[in-house]
Structures are given as structure tokens and as C-alpha cells.
Amino acid sequence: MSKTCSTSSRSPAKAGVQGGKVRRGRKVALDPRFRGGAWLLAALLLAATGMFSSLSLAQDRLPPAPYAYQQLKDPAQEARAKALMEELRCLVCQGQSIADSDAPLAGDMRHEVRSKIAAGESPGEIKTWLVARYGNWVSYDPPFDAATAFLWLGPLLFLAIGGWLAFGRFRRGASDGEDAA
């Protein structure tokens, strides 16, 4: 559990509840000039007002939700949950999925995902539900839409342009074109 959750060390409320104990505090996180601060704050507000409100307030006082650090009994269900968790961003961390973060919020989200999978929901449904609440930011697998068209098609474009340029390098036919410019 060495990955940092920046908010837990930034948020005075959380730090207070944790008795000043900071999980994985990091210089970046403590630097007030840190640019991500605004968005971290936004995530906090989201966490405070959103659907995790009860959970995220509770989890600082209570032990982690049961499925945060516990696998589902059914291996097939666990595999589905795991695959989904690896695609979901830990909203208060720095570039980690919820599958490999020790942030309390990540634990809550893991619990949420596992509970829903256990209740029979499909990973697609859970993802749609999370995206509806948090936006595409929560998913590491960006959807294909107007905003991401270039992201998905860009590589093909690069390949096409590069291929077209490279093709000019090849000698065509039998002529041994030395030193063609």
C-alpha cells in the first residue's frame, strides 16, 4: 500500500479524523502550488456531496468496507470485478486504478464494484453508472466520441502517413536507382 492518496493528506477534514496520520504522504501532495489541487478539491467536493458521502465520511472512522480488501467467493465474478477495477481510476490518487491503490476512496469503490458484481450486475452496467456520476474521467478506457476521435484514429493516421512516406524509399521495379534524392 505504498501508492499515495493525495487527498487524504491534503484534506484537513480527513487528516483530522485520522488523527493527523497521513497515508502515504508525498511531497507533491503537500506542495500547495501543486496544479492538480483544483481538481483534487473538485473530487473532494464530489466525494462529499455525491453518492459516496456516507461511505467516505464513514470510512475514516470505521474499518474499510468489507469488499475493499476481500475477494468475491466466486472466481468468475471476482475475475469480472478485477478486470473492471483495473479500468477505473482512483479519483483522488495520482494516476492509479482503484485495483492498486490504498486510498480509502479506492477501497470504497472496490467494495462498490464487488458488491454490485455479486448482486448480479454486469461490468458494463456498473461502468455506465460510474461514468454517469463521475464523467469519463473515472474510466481509463476512453469512449469513442467526438472528443476522443483523434485519440483513437490518430495512430491509424500516423501509420498511414508514415507508410506513405516510407513507401517512397523503396526501389520500384527492377531499376537499381542509386542515389535518387
Binding site: 505504498s2 481510476r89 478506457d141 483523434f150 490518430g154 524509399r169
Partner: protein
Amino acid sequence: MIAELGLALLWIAAALACLSLVAGILFLRGGPKDLGALVRPASVAQGVLTAAAFGLLIALFVRSDMSVELVARNSNSLKPMIFKVAGTWGNHEGSMLLWLMILSLSGGLIAIFEKRLREDTLIATLAAQAALSIGFFAFLLFSSNPFKRLPVAPPDGQGLNPLLQDIGLAFHPPTLYVGYVGLSVAFSFAVGALITREIGPAFARAMRPWVLGSWIFLTLGITAGSYWAYYELGWGGWWFWDPVENVSLVPWLAGAALLHSVAVTATRNALRAWTVMLAVIGFSMSMVGTFIVRSGLLTSVHSFAVDPERGTFLLVLMAIYIGGALTLFALRAGAVAEGKKFALLSREGSLVINNLLLTTILALVLLGTLYPIVAEAMGEKISVGPPYYNRVAGPLALILCLVMVAGPLLSWRKDDGKRLWSRLPLAIFAGSAVLFALILFGGKVGILPLLGMTVAGIVAVASLAPLWGRNLRRTPLPTWGMVVAHFGVAVCLAGMGAESAFIKERLVAAAPGDDIRIGDFSVKFVGVKPVAGPNYTAIEGTLVATSSSGTSFTMKPEARTFPGLMGTAPTETNEAALLTRPGGQLYAVLGQPVTGDDGRADRYQIRLWWKPLVWWIWLGGGLIAVGAALSMLGRAQLLAIWRARRARKAEERFAP
């Protein structure tokens, strides 16, 4: 006194860089020959002085001189010595001084060792290197002075981020930086050659060992960083497609493309403009990476030394250097004939496809890394992560590996398909064997790991093919290098595929005495006890892992708590315990204490993973580096250079 001396040395070194640049420009514009003669010694002196300044900064950290702001903020007198030394570069100013030192030393090394370039090209190269270092001297001296004193020295320092208090810090950043900044040599060579219009096989041969050298360090740095993150971050991930990882991968990809294209230029005098372009791209990508990491533009798991205000300075520097080099390239591109042409089915043809795929992967990694920033500016918040890269870069990388199978078996200029085909049956057999074995016995394996392991099988056999029927003792070193490096790619790929396909995970809340089954192991949780380290306290868990053959191993994962120093908050880290077996690694982490259903509080969260063949990933990375090193030894012709030098010395001695 030490801090002031260090600062003075930096200023003198900066002045020497200015001297090299001015003297170089005047010489190239037809000035007196004496001016040209100044450039070499000035470059060497600049390298030595910057290295001395860096040495003085280390001395300040070793002595825990808290009157220096950098030391007070990042060190503590109680810290073990190794971390005092390594802590020198575990922060913004120190890491930038390390960056600058490598840049200056590279210039010094070119000045001492490079004998194959024409004199004017060499001076232009050194002047370009000096121009690069002037910008970074300005950056360091005006906005990131590492030797700044505090008006009042605190009694002790704030300490180093505990995550960084690991032997990894001693090796990973310096190695990666040597690679990153080593690419500046290729950049300066390209600029120098563009200025004097000397672009051809001689230039490519001179540049090749430097490219190989920095690429070796990049490979080692990335491999070491991957292993460090793997055992330190506590969840067993070895590659996260995180922005900071991506920006280290991008120069590596550029370096890989460059060292293949430079081979074409050196051997066949083809792809000249492209080689020069790649040399410019390589170091440009290093600067982009440094900028992204240093400016805090992207959030990452691995950023430890971030400062947004200085980002602008770096951005301006970057714009000047990249823009300048590209302008020069555009001005001279007409003068650089592309060189000889060749058939698609030839060694050159396969290397062109290699370059096409490598640069496409480079572009898409950069695209994926920067896209969220651009999207955010346009009001869309998106995340680009592993699913994107695996889906887009994965197939391209596999195709690249297949091209790698064919390339070394093709001859230069042109070859025919039948001849190539006749050399492949064994490799295809190996690939099919892996594929069928996986389909029959592997259970449910994802498509990418499945293809990955299949391709690994093909590459493993095919990479050895260039040695078949050869006298192994007479096989030149660069050929050995190629074989070892390509074989390393297969090993690495097999490790990645096996780990993703067959990983086993167990997360449990265990009480002492509980047995946990994972893979072929039965792991007994014996209990926990408190331990004290030099600057932390920890709960140490004892696990006894018994393999199916009955052998027992003791594993001791720790949950450490570092006290807050000088008003900073305390920090907790996890030290995973790793058990390396021939078939893979068992990875154990001790988490938080939990209360069981019965209300007893003696349970602990324990995370266990069995990771099949996972260490092959880093073994493969090591093999790639060894291969490149063999190739460099063969290409650098150090022996020949040394002999030539001795002969010249002898000649001078007898000269009247």
C-alpha cells in the same frame, strides 16, 4: 564554504559553455583556427567543473549541512548514509544538477574520445552541446539554485519521502538520466552535421556508439524503474502506462528507432535525412519528458520533484532548442539527399518498417499522454490508461516483433521471399507449439497475452537464427549483440504474457495460524511483531510459504511508519516480501489490522500474488541492455582508437 564553492564552479562552467559556443561559431564562420582549438579543452573543463559542483552538493548532503535550503528540505541527519547520498538527486534542484552534469560530461567525453568526425563537424557538435548546456545552466542558476543558503539554519531537516528511501533511488534516476541526456549527444551530432553538411556513413558510424551507449542506460533505467515500482508500490504492478513512465518510454522508442536507422546510414548510406531527424526527435523527447515530469503538468504515481512555476522556463528552453534544430533541419533538408534506394524485401526495408512502427508507437504513446491535457483545455475530462495502450500499441508491438524475426535474416539491398521462408520453419514450429499448448492447457487466456507468448516463442528461436551455421568465435560482436538483444525481447514478452495470463491473487484478512492457498503454495500466517529501523518503526509479519514439493520459505513483509520530521506529517509505506522461484515470484504484502466478525482484533489484511515468470520481464530488459552493450563494444572500436592514439603520440614524440 562548500555551497559557495559549488555555486562558483557552476558559474565558471556556464562561462566555459558560453566560450565554447562563441568560439565554435566564430571558427565555423571562418575565424582563426586558434578559436577552434579552444572548444575541446573548454568542453572538457566544463564537464569536470560541473561534475565537481555535483560532488560538492553530495558532500553537503553527506554532512547534513542544514544551512543549505535544499538539504534542510530534503534530508535529515538521522537518515542512513546511502539515502543521504542518493537524496541529492531525489529532489528538483539536485536532479536538474545531475541532468546538467551528464549533459556537460557528455560534451567532455565527445571532446576527448571522438576522433572519427571531421574537425569542423566536431567543433560544431561541441558548440551545439554547449548551447544546450547554457540554457540548462541558466535554468539552474536563475530559478533552481541547489546551493541556496537559508538565513537561519534549522536544527534538522525535513527528511526524504519514505517511498524514495530505497536502494532503487541510488540507481534508477542516475541511470535513466544518463540515457535521457546521453541522447543529447546524438542531437548535437545531428546539429553539427547539418551545419557542416557532413551527413553520411562516417557521421553515422561516429554517432552510432553514442546512441547505443545512451540507449543501454535508458533500457537499464526503465527496467530498474519498473522493478522498483513493482516491489515498492505494493500492488505488484510492473507497468502502469502512467505519464511519467510514458515519457521515459518515448525517448527509448526514439533511441531504438535511431539505432536501427543509423545502422542503415552507416552500412548503406541510405535514410540519411531520417536518421538526422530521429536524432533530433530523440533528445527533444527527453526534454519534453523532463518538462512534463518537472512541471507537474500531469499527475503521476512517480513524480517526486515537481515545480509548476519552473515549468514555463523549461517550456521556453525546449521551444528554443527543438524549434532551432527543426528550423536548421528544414533549411538543410534539401541538401541532405535521402541516399540509396532499396527493395521492400531487404534488410533496409525491414528496418524502415521497424522505424515506421516504432515511431507510430512513439507518436501514439505521446498522443495518449498529452491527450487528457488538451481535452481538459477544451472542457472534456478524460483518462487514457492501460486499456487504450494495450489495444492500440499492443498489436503494433507484436507486428514489430514479427518484423524483427524477418529483418536479421534478410540481406541488404534486396532479397527474395523464398530464401527468407526457408529459414523460418523452426521458429514457426516453436510459435505454433506455444500457441497450441496455451489453447489446450492454458485455460482462459486473453487474446493479447496469448499472441504475446506465441510471438515470444517465434522470436526466441528466430533471434538465434543469425548464428546458425556460423563460426561462433568469429561472429562479430555487433551480431552477437543483436542476437542477445532480440532474444531479450522474446524473454521480456514471454514474461509479460505469462504474468498477465496466469497471475493468481489472494486478498484475505488472516489471523495468526491461518493457512492461505495460492498457486502451488500454502502460506501460513505465523504472526506479527514490532521492529525498529534506523529512521522508522514497523510491524513485521512472518509468513511461511510451503511449495508443493514441501520446501518452506519464510517471508517477512513490513508495514513501516516514518515519523513526521520538522513539522511534516508521518508517512506509512509497505515493504513487500518477494520470494523468487524458477517459475515466478510470490509477492506478499502486510496491510492494516482488521477486526474479525468475532470482534477480535488480531487479524491483518494480507495480499498475496503468484506471478508466473514475472522476473523474465526484467531479465529480458537486462538482456536487451547486454546486447546493446556488446554491439557498442564492437562499434566503438575502442581498441582501434586507443592504438591510433598511441601511434600518433609516438609519432609526435619523434617529430622535430
